[in-house]
């Protein structure tokens, strides 16, 4: 089973081209930082309520990437808001992305292809060579979103993160997205840290939209 960071990097890859799907980089960074925090929550290292997120167990998880994140949150000392914790880790997002890609290649899920664009610019693509994990996750999420099945906590996190990235189209057809709007909104709220990720990404999208809007 992949961790949330690896799962989100995998979902953010264009399956045919092997590049990243169109998503503002700052929003993608928040989603990866949120994925790390939510993984720590499911490993019972951090907990949260309506106001605060706190480290409850600073013992290493055995995953270097997550342990680094846990160490940084523990070093804050006092409890943070969930948004502050996510923002604190957002600076590491590129590191998380590269580590996730390395793991996905090492696990035989992606292949790394280096090339050149116009014989000058170096390019790197990651075509998917084993899509079993993606198909399994998408199938499970479809089942939950299209029925009244209660999700398990890991599925709730994935739904939150996918919704925050506006990548539901990877899981559902257009008519299904329209039909499940209320269900997706309800399930996305079930994780309090996930709510913070959604809010932070929405703020970024709002800023991007308004910074590029014409001024009359």
């Amino acid at each position: 089973m992949l961790g949330f960071v690896e799962e989100m990097v995998l979902l953010q890859l264009d399956e045919t081209q092997g590049g990243l799907v169109d998503l503002p980089r700052s929003a993608a960074d928040i989603v990866l930082a949120g994925a790390a925090v939510m993984e720590l929550a499911l490993l019972n290292r951090v907990d949260s309520d309506l106001e605060r997120l706190f480290v409850v167990d600073a013992a290493p998880t055995g995953d270097d990437m997550l342990d680094g994140a846990l160490h940084e949150l523990a070093a804050e000392g006092a409890a943070l808001t969930a948004i502050a914790a996510i923002e604190r880790l957002t600076v590491n997002a590129e590191k998380y992305r590269q580590e996730a890609l390395r793991r996905l290649v090492a696990n035989g899920i992606l292949r790394e292809e280096n090339g050149r664009h116009f014989w000058v610019f170096r390019t790197r693509r990651y075509p998917v060579i084993d899509d079993r994990e993606q198909r399994e996750v998408k199938g499970r999420l479809r089942q939950i979103l299209l029925t009244d099945e209660i999700p398990d906590p890991r599925d709730v996190v994935l739904i939150c993160l996918i919704e925050a990235c506006e990548l539901l189209g990877l899981v559902l057809a257009a008519d299904e997205i329209a039909r499940t709007k209320t269900r997706v909104a309800e399930l996305s709220r079930l994780d309090l840290i996930g709510q913070a990720v959604t809010r932070a990404v929405a703020e970024i999208r709002f800023m991007i939209r308004h910074s590029s809007a014409p001024v009359f």
Binding site: N44, D47, V56, P153, L187, R189, D191, L192, Q195
Partner: protein, 126 residues
């Protein structure tokens, strides 16, 4: 049966009590104290023992639950999922205002059945 799980992470004295009794074919579980990361693991173990019924029918009394965190919400989500998979029923009742607020903001009140009192919860769990 009454079991007490004492949390060690956030100060001595913070604990959760887990008690159960039968009301006919419905198991009434009473949770009291705090349901958070330190009491979630023993709460999960205790719930696992009461999910043996075929199908499980649970009424969970939260009138003594003073605090619930994300970890606590996950415990209830897992219980609800297991009950659904076993084609049983789970109904909550007696939520204190602060716990009700957490349920409202997290949307747990939309996916879990909540009743006003024990009688209504037991009837709905049948």
């Amino acid at each position: 049966m009454l079991t007490t799980a004492r949390g060690g992470n956030r100060g001595a004295g913070l604990a959760m009590d887990f008690a159960q009794e039968q009301a006919g074919d419905v198991t009434v579980v009473r949770l009291a104290g705090r349901l958070d990361s330190s009491t979630a693991p023993p709460a999960e173990s205790s719930f696992a023992r009461v999910l043996d019924g075929d199908p499980p029918r649970l009424a969970i009394d939260l009138s003594g639950l003073e605090y619930i965190s994300s970890a606590g919400l996950r415990v209830l989500l897992v219980v609800a999922k297991k009950v659904q998979q076993a084609k049983g029923k789970v109904v909550l009742f007696g939520l204190l205002p602060n716990v009700r607020e957490v349920f409202a903001i997290s949307g747990f009140d939309k996916i879990l059945t909540i009743q006003a009192d024990a009688a209504a919860a037991v009837a709905a769990a049948r």
